[in-house]
């Protein structure tokens, strides 16, 4: 059956960027406010799922040729690496460090190793969600 999803396709082209931008905002807001890698990751994978709904798996894999299983591994490596990095400096596992720097335009910004950890979480969440959806979707 051929369905006419012109409206969905047109709208999702615009909405997609908004969702991804908002998810990135959520990710960085997680530094000191509600948000973070988990929510951001879920939202980004929501955007990809919207793309899957509007088009089909083939189109999406040509646009985003990403192996989501590898993405999980990269994310885990970020998280575990950040956690284990502390051991090299003689502090316990998972200990984080932070500092403040003055950046042009942004002003006083805090740099925190938790961001690296959160990047890992972000990637793992996208990877896991998309792996699950692809596994179910591909067999159809």
């Amino acid at each position: 059956m051929k369905t006419n999803d012109l409206i969905l396709q047109t709208v999702s082209k615009v909405i997609l960027f908004l969702i991804v931008l908002f998810s990135l905002y959520m990710f960085f807001a997680g530094h000191y406010h509600p948000g973070g890698g988990f929510v951001g990751g879920l939202m980004t994978s929501g955007a990809i799922v919207l793309m899957l709904l509007a088009y089909d798996i083939k189109t999406v894999t040509t646009i985003l040729p990403v192996d989501y299983k590898k993405m999980i591994a990269v994310g885990l490596l970020f998280a575990a690496g950040t956690a284990a990095g502390g051991l090299l400096f003689g502090v316990p596992f998972l200990t984080h460090a932070f500092t403040y720097v003055d950046l042009p335009l942004l002003g006083k910004t805090s740099l925190h190793t938790a961001v690296l950890f959160d990047t890992g979480v972000y990637l793992v969440v996208i990877g896991v969600t998309m792996t699950i959806i692809q596994t179910i979707g591909e067999s159809e």
Binding site: F38, V128, T129, I132, T135, I136, S139
Partner: protein, 113 residues
């Protein structure tokens, strides 16, 4: 408020038990979802329901909320999200392979063969 939460948790557990006793695999999975929701709300209730500021230095508030139950719930939610997702994929594969989602018909023949 605690009494109300107790009723809510009870209803969740009750529906979860009912759903998990049914034969359809999908209903069973929904049941496990409700069961973990009930358990999460129970953590929150057991930690004490109170209003207060976020437990951070420099808030200077009269009362602080207990962050621990919230951290526990967050962890438990993520875990149950993962398990439920895995369970759904497995159920789908089992449906394809075994041709049924009825637990009665899924039963193996004698022994375990």
């Amino acid at each position: 408020m605690e009494i109300l939460m107790a009723f809510l948790i009870g209803i969740l557990f009750m529906s979860a038990t009912y759903l998990m006793l049914s034969k359809s695999l999908l209903r069973i999975i929904v049941g496990t979802g409700l069961l973990s929701h009930g358990a999460h709300l129970l953590i929150l209730t057991m930690g004490g329901l109170k209003r207060g500021a976020a437990p951070l230095l420099g808030q200077h508030a009269e009362a602080y909320a207990d962050p621990l139950p919230q951290a526990l719930i967050l962890t438990a939610i993520v875990i149950s999200f993962g398990v439920t997702a895995f369970f759904l994929v497995l159920a789908y594969r089992a449906y394809q392979e075994l041709g049924t989602d009825n637990m009665d018909r899924m039963r193996g023949k004698e022994g375990n063969e």
